[in-house]
Symmetry: C2
Subunit: 435 residues, 2 copies
């Protein structure tokens, strides 16, 4: 039996510091659960001069990654530096040196997961990343273990807290997109360059990871169709509410059976009765549907120092138990399926569309005919008595199920109509509720 498990930590920033706090605060309980103490034996920081005050003198800091990556006494390396490089190279080196690796780095997992999993398997060690998706929410391990007997049919996730905060502000306080973004930045939820959040890239990395696990095939970032919330207008959120929907930025991964799988990020109109519609502020939630379990949902904080540390330290405990039982590498990559992507054009969904049209007799008939010509049938039509400018009215429609291909053709046709001034917004609708 080992006397202690030695951990090397790469990065002592927000999350790294959280890991130190949790491992120290709950050290006794963790030791009892694992069977021996967990010791953080070395910490990599950029400059010793910048050693965080709160941890000074309590740990052994170094500026040289090799001190950790090549130390034969270190069993587990936790990578919390962020960004792709040199994080990926350090993870590779640690795995090659037969150390198990834990990371919260979704960029690296989404891009280099296949390579790193192979390296972990080759060296018979663990590679875990519970914190990479959904922060503190247990979702990777439940998918890999608890729900492993299911064929997963769909995963819908609110997996970006920044945009969920902004959409909540827009929806509950009628705040404009710009004001909501400014407030998110003021609160530290959004970075000064918010592109990765509002553009959907952050969520895309996470849904690629979830889809890979859920569908047992390697879904790359390039496979994910991405649309952000930067084009959303407050009036769309208000129309949605009037129609009984909330707008959420979702990661959407679906198994279309014989048509293959798809992964995407885009704003979705969800019925207010859908459990995801009630997830507000910075909270994240992942809604999973499997052929045995039916619908299940996991909710919690998707970011933040201690919630993310909770997930990282859960991985530490899991790996430590594997080390003690000589069973690292117990669960390796489960991407055993050949990838079969469903072409975006073939994906069916109802759709919300807001148009500016001329306020003249016969216009509605012309628009309805344009939809009809593409086989698109309409479920709701609202024409508000809002004059945008002289002789222009605002028209909102929700279609029944339509393929992305037919939808695009319909939009082209509409744009060519003299009666249509502008197709202002197009938002997909998800009508499924919890079953």
């Amino acid at each position: 039996m080992k006397k202690e498990i030695n951990v090397g930590l790469l990065g002592a920033g927000v999350v790294g510091g959280g890991v130190l706090i949790v491992l120290e605060k709950n050290a006794d309980d963790i030791a009892k659960k694992v069977g021996c103490p967990i010791k953080v034996s070395k910490i990599l920081i950029k400059s010793l001069a910048e050693t965080p005050e709160e941890f000074k003198g309590k740990y052994d800091f170094t500026e040289n990654a090799d001190d950790i990556l090549n130390d034969p006494e270190i069993d587990i390396v936790i990578e919390l530096m962020g960004r792709e490089h040199p994080a990926k190279e350090y993870i590779s080196q640690a795995l090659s040196n037969k150390k198990s690796v834990i990371t919260a780095n979704k960029d690296v997992v989404a891009k280099y997961g296949a390579e790193l999993f192979a390296l972990a398997a080759e060296n018979n060690v663990d590679f875990m990343f519970e914190a990479a998706v959904g922060g503190g929410i247990p979702i990777i391990r439940p998918l890999k273990n608890c729900l492993a007997s299911n064929k997963i049919t769909s995963i819908l996730g609110i997996i970006n807290g920044t945009t969920n905060y902004m959409l909540t502000k827009m929806s509950k306080e009628n705040m404009s997109y710009g004001d909501a973004l400014a407030e998110a930045q003021a609160k530290g939820y959004a970075e000064s360059d918010p592109t990765a959040d509002v553009g959907g890239l952050d969520a895309a990395r996470k849904i690629a990871i979830l889809a890979s696990i859920g569908f047992n095939t390697r879904v790359d970032l390039d496979d994910v169709y991405v649309e952000g919330i930067d084009h959303l207008e407050l009036c769309d959120i208000e129309y949605a509410r009037d129609l009984g929907y909330a707008i959420k930025l979702l990661g959407v991964a679906k198994n279309h059976k014989d048509n293959g799988i798809s992964a995407a990020v885009y704003p979705v109109m969800l019925p207010l009765e859908h459990p995801l519609a009630a997830i507000n502020d910075v909270f994240n939630a992942i809604f999973v549907t499997g052929d045995a379990v039916g619908d299940a949902m996991f909710v919690g904080r998707g970011a933040g120092r201690l919630p993310t540390a909770s997930a990282v330290c859960g991985d530490v405990i899991d790996v430590a138990r594997n080390i003690i039982h000589n069973s690292t590498g117990r669960i390796s990559c489960t991407c055993f399926e050949e990838k079969h992507l469903c072409a975006l054009e073939n994906i069916m969904a109802p759709c919300y569309m807001r148009l500016h049209v001329q306020d003249k007799p016969g216009v509605l008939a012309a628009i309805a005919a344009a939809f009809g010509a593409q086989g698109v049938s309409l479920k709701n039509v609202i024409q508000k008595e809002v004059l945008i400018k002289d002789s222009t009215a605002e028209l909102v429609v929700i279609t029944h199920d339509v393929s992305e291909y037919n939808l695009r053709m319909a939009i082209q046709t509409l744009k060519a109509l003299p009666a249509v001034d502008e197709v202002c917004s197009v938002i997909r609708v998800e009508n499924q509720v919890m079953e």
Copy 2:
């Protein structure tokens, strides 16, 4: 490397049949995830004459438990017979014979968990029961793994689907208690004798299990204070709604720090903004608070053939991976804390109370004084213009935080007042929302 993992199944009823369906339907994927096929080699049923038609000729059935429990080829025993006996004896025998055991039997786990865990540890095998609480919802494994680095401070659970269905019907359709029960029985959600569900015993077993895991100490069924929904009246649900609350039957486990822990089942008034308030029909949800993760919630189907089978088969995959890696017994009992129960009298909570009082001047003052004498301060007071009978009015109050002791003293005082005809109902209030 093993060629296959052999499973013996005790019971082929609703859930047992579900396990057979899932293991067969997804056999290929499961074999790839585990590393070798899972084979159900023998099934115990009461009488061969009653072999379920759907499985006839496909499996080897027996009426003799020893054919499974003593078969050296069988690696895993799944117990799905229900009730305490002989399930507990069969589980013991299997563990003693060095077979890992998986069960969905909350009665056995709640009552004999300590003994069975010790036996599993002694024989270095696994004892798993993900399906015993929350059906298909991953909750046991997330508590034991993903959230293991947290000190859990509270667990609130909607863990009985029958009563949640009834409360939903009462709340959404203004159905009476009796009608809601009749409908639950007609739909097969409630048994002909519904006592264990509506009286809270079923939920009590589950919260005892969750509290034991969450607080790392053995919480017995006797430690759980139990109150069901059988005394709830429709008007309480209506008052609650008017005041911005939903009434849910909750399992409530709390860590009161130096005052010890508590576990209870009772109806709770939850603010409508609380995520648990939106969990309706037969759905279950467990709301966990930890010192690192903050609040997290797990939602899904708490019962039913395939959802429960999903949890059981997840355990099968986990145990099978342990068998292949020679690491059964990897996680054993984590009840290493000495039990320190918080006396019910010391537990603080706000409280809703409905009274029938005489409709005379000075009565409200007398009642307020009676509360005040016990140090109970009032947050809301509603006197409806509903005359119950001549000169009697209905009064509803919500108190600020009050200890159970002071509450009981106040009720005694109130009952002794000539102006008070009846204390009709007392319901605890939970004001915490997601943080």
